[in-house]
């Protein structure tokens, strides 16, 4: 059982990675608002800010906490402003690997709410959504989670993500924590969240 989940996880990981790269190719060359390049990683601080704004309750939260202080050291490899210009945001195999590790740990921490041993404090509304997802596969809750994390206005991207989830079989995993963990992981690794649109 565990091995089957691991294989699915790897499959989803590959799908996410390829989707990220495809998105990059599509958006290459253009630049985005507030100085961050379009198609590049949104960066360590921007992702951390989005998480704190949208789903986490602890204003003191720092992204590296979910992985360990060592992640703070590689912050500049994950995309950040340095001397007024954005650096390290161009995706490559190494920083995508770092992001995957980080996002998997984050998804694991959030999914720990299923077993009532939470590692992170969530905003009440988001915690309710996670509870619903822990109980059973809930497409309505899933859609709201997408809107909270990714945002409004790209229904096509949501459809693609949701269909990929169903095809991969992640939504049918019976172990609640594992199911929520992997679903959140694919969402965090979705290019609509991780990259500048």
């Amino acid at each position: 059982m565990q091995r089957r989940h691991a294989n699915r996880w790897r499959l989803v990981m590959v799908i996410s990675f390829m989707a990220s790269l495809a998105s990059l190719v599509a958006a290459s060359g253009a630049l985005a608002a507030a100085g961050r390049p379009l198609g590049q990683l949104r960066g360590y601080n921007e992702i951390e800010k989005a998480l704190k704004t949208q789903i986490l309750a602890d204003p003191q939260f720092q992204l590296y906490q979910v992985f360990g202080p060592s992640y703070y050291v590689v912050q500049n490899l994950l995309g950040q402003f340095e001397s007024g210009t954005y650096q390290g945001g161009g995706p490559n195999a190494f920083n995508m690997y770092l992001w995957e590790n980080l996002m998997l740990q984050l998804a694991t921490a959030i999914a720990s709410h299923c077993t009532l041993t939470p590692n992170l404090t969530l905003q009440p509304e988001f915690q309710q959504l996670i509870s619903r997802l822990c109980q059973r596969h809930d497409s309505a809750a899933l859609n709201t989670v997408w809107l909270k994390i990714v945002g409004f206005g790209d229904d096509a991207a949501y459809s693609r993500w949701y269909q990929a989830l169903e095809r991969s079989g992640l939504t049918t995993i019976s172990a609640a924590e594992e199911r929520v963990r992997l679903i959140l992981y694919t969402l965090f690794m979705n290019p609509r969240f991780l990259l500048e649109p």
Binding site: A26, A27, G29, A30, L31, A32, A33, A34, G35, P37, L38, G43, Y44, N45, E46, E48, K49, A50, K52, T53, Q54, P59, Q60, F61, Q62, P69, Y72, V73, Q80, F81, G84, E125, T144, L147, K148, G151, F152, G153, D154, P197
Partner: protein
């Protein structure tokens, strides 16, 4: 009428580039049609994608929180949505973030989530309630604060510089002088810091305690100073002056280890020395010093008390916290906010040093790039007259080098008095550069002469914002930093640069904008007077633009045009259309174009390639020139130093417009040679 024929052979092609150009032109026409229905668009419900995108920009990353909030927004017009988003306290963060972008010092996160760790301190980030870049730029902070509190956004420029510690000579020992001396550096660091515990343990307590004890105790003290080392900089410097330590004393002290250095984790050379170590100082007049201390403490104590009483600890949600930050300035300090604060302050002078070889040109280049959006693109100039040569016949007199130096050097002149760490060396017989070199006598005279104007001009100094190398009436001259700030406030080029950066911040950093549209945004931003209302109106115009609505914009295309203009399908490319209209088409217009070149056209000249109509007659046959040759000639006429061939003939073209046109023609020529034209 004779059909034009092609001069030379070109490979026929109907490629994607051609199709794209047609589409861009069509898009332009469509946009103009749409722009006439702006009122209608504003009265209809906004699209979710646009609302979410607008929210993320105006609320500094915070998108629409829930379906119910989205439903609320969808019940509003676009204008109302923007107004509501701007009412968020987080809008102040967006303004601050933009201000830092404007100054070229944008950071990832303006507000650290927690007190800085040792790693962060070591990395010199997040020292304050706001990130260091913001805390060191009180003009940016004040402007943001004013914007969300009903003040004027353009107070951004009220804080350009002042008699801050970095720019003036140390004050005398009149304690009243220290009140401002201290607080100009502190004003925004402490009130906007939110960790009360950090403040309690800060060096402020230490200094206060020591000051109230009197000099004997101070000099006997050997208590180590720890924590918040950077906060200590200003009080330590002021206290050093109060103690009568000179710069030379500091140099001696720097060479010796002390506890202060050991307890801070900055590189030792950055530490101010510990003025409280009795082994390093023995003041000759302890009684006078004691009086100074007590008077000084009297001034300082109520201010620090006010800082500490401010409700700065975050309570409730982050939203509430920011509401507190922006809405509740400490009363005791509010009066001080109207005082000038520097952006030409310590950080500026540290980051852009005046070395004995660059003569302030780094500072001049920063000003041109930051406030005039001038990246100093070298476009050839008319050869300078012998009398106009650079003093000492330095390389700046060479025509090629002069293409930058003609505007860089006069801009650098505004900073000529400021040497090491920005200290003012005017009326001194020595001058110290940041690289440590000391000049005096004839060498110093030569330094000052670098900015003397040629006698024929009638001006004493050649200092100012230079638009034209040949016609002084297009330039704005000045002498002092006050003059420079006035130019930055009022020069049309500077206002346009602010508008352009605002559009780039909101839309994207490399988007091409039509000059006419940019002029309309500039007018919205600054007319009738630059105020917060005009600033918000400009943001509204940008956020409701077509370019902002694009999901994956083509950065080479213009999506918005001057609402007053008539846009023809055969209009030249938008990057240069307005420049050509303003400076070239008077002579080069279809139906009577000088030299057969019609710069008001942009048409398929041969085999799917686009270019200007450029006709020539040979043996009675009228032919179209090869577009590559047209571009080549255009480049030559823009950059030649021969006044008889340089265009526009007998007229001035601002240097930045010439550079834009020149760069565009260069790119077009490159594409032409590679077959892309």
């Amino acid at each position: 009428m004779l059909e034009p024929r092609l001069e030379g052979q070109m490979k026929p092609k109907h490629d994607n580039v051609t199709i794209l150009r047609h589409l861009v032109v069509l898009l332009g026409i469509l946009t103009i049609s749409l722009s006439s229905t702006t009122t209608m668009a504003q009265s209809t419900a906004a699209a979710p994608a646009w609302i979410d995108k607008a929210a993320k920009i105006l609320r500094y990353g915070e998108g629409v929180a829930s379906r119910s909030e989205m439903a609320t927004f969808q019940g509003l017009s676009e204008s109302q949505v923007i107004d509501r988003l701007m009412a968020s306290p987080r809008f102040g963060l967006m303004v601050l973030d933009f201000n830092l972008y404007y100054f070229g010092t944008k950071v990832d996160e303006l507000v650290p989530a927690s007190p800085p760790s040792q790693t962060q301190i070591g990395a010199r980030t997040n020292h304050f309630g706001f990130a260091a870049a913001a805390a060191q730029n009180p003009g940016a902070l004040t402007s943001a604060w004013q914007t969300v509190n009903g003040g004027n956004y353009f107070s951004l420029f009220d804080h350009a510089f002042s008699d801050s510690w970095a720019l003036r000579q140390p004050p005398n020992r009149d304690p009243s002088a220290y009140r401002n001396y201290f607080l100009q550096g502190w004003d925004f660091k402490f009130p906007l810091s939110y960790d009360d515990q950090q403040l309690t343990n800060s060096i402020v307590d230490f200094i206060l305690a020591k000051l109230t004890q009197g000099p004997a105790d101070i000099l006997a003290s050997n208590q180590p100073i720890d924590r918040t080392c950077l906060h200590a900089t200003f009080p330590i410097l002021a206290a050093m002056d109060l103690l009568g330590l000179s710069a030379a004393d500091r140099e001696v002290l720097k060479a010796r280890p002390n506890k202060f250095r050991m307890n801070c984790r900055f590189p030792p050379e950055d530490y101010p020395p510990d003025p409280f170590n009795p082994r390093k100082h023995d003041h000759p007049n302890k009684a006078a010093l004691a009086q100074d201390f007590r008077a000084f403490a009297t001034y300082l104590r109520p201010i620090v008390t006010a800082i500490k009483s401010w409700p700065i600890k975050a309570q409730g949600s982050e939203h509430d916290y920011f509401a507190q930050v922006w809405r509740q300035p400490p009363p005791a300090l509010s009066a001080l906010r109207s005082k000038a604060q520097p952006f030409f302050g310590e950080a500026f002078f540290r980051d852009y040093p005046n070395s004995s070889t660059n003569f302030n040109r780094k500072r001049g280049a920063y000003v041109l790039k930051t406030f005039f959006c001038d990246d100093l693109i070298p476009v050839g100039l008319a050869a300078p007259a012998a009398a106009d040569n650079h003093p000492g016949n330095l390389h700046a007199s060479d025509p090629g080098c002069r293409s930058c130096h003609f505007k860089l050097d006069p801009m650098a002149g505004f900073f000529r008095h400021h040497g090491r760490l920005g200290q003012d060396f005017s009326n001194r017989d020595t001058f110290i550069f940041d690289d440590g070199k000391v000049i005096t006598g004839s060498t110093l005279s030569h330094y000052w002469q670098s900015w003397l104007a040629p006698q024929a001009t009638g001006r004493q100094l050649n200092i100012g914002y230079i638009n034209s190398d040949t016609q002084a009436r297009y330039n704005t001259y000045g002498e002092s930093l006050e003059d420079l700030v006035t130019i930055i406030r009022t020069a049309p080029e500077a206002q346009r640069c602010l508008a352009r950066k605002l559009a780039r911040y909101i839309i994207n950093d490399e988007q091409t904008f039509d000059d006419g549209w940019m002029a309309s945004i500039t007018a919205t931003l600054t007319k009738p007077e630059p105020t917060t209302a005009t600033f918000k109106n400009a943001i509204k115009a940008i956020i409701t633009s077509t370019a902002f609505r694009q999901q994956n914009p083509n950065t080479d295309a213009c999506y918005d045009f001057d609402p007053e203009a008539t846009i023809h399908a055969d209009r030249p490319p938008c990057q240069v259309a307005e420049i050509l209209a303003d400076h070239c088409q008077m002579c080069h217009q279809e139906g009577g174009a000088a030299s057969g070149l019609a710069l008001d056209t942009w048409q398929e000249v041969v085999d799917g390639s686009f270019g200007f109509q450029h006709l020539f007659t040979e043996d009675g046959v009228v032919s179209q020139r090869n577009p590559c040759e047209t571009m080549s000639r255009l480049i030559d006429r823009l950059s030649t130093d021969d006044p008889s061939r340089r265009m526009p003939m007998m007229m001035a073209m601002p240097a930045n417009k010439r550079a834009t046109l020149f760069l565009w023609a260069q790119t077009a020529l490159k594409q032409c040679h590679s077959g892309g034209q």
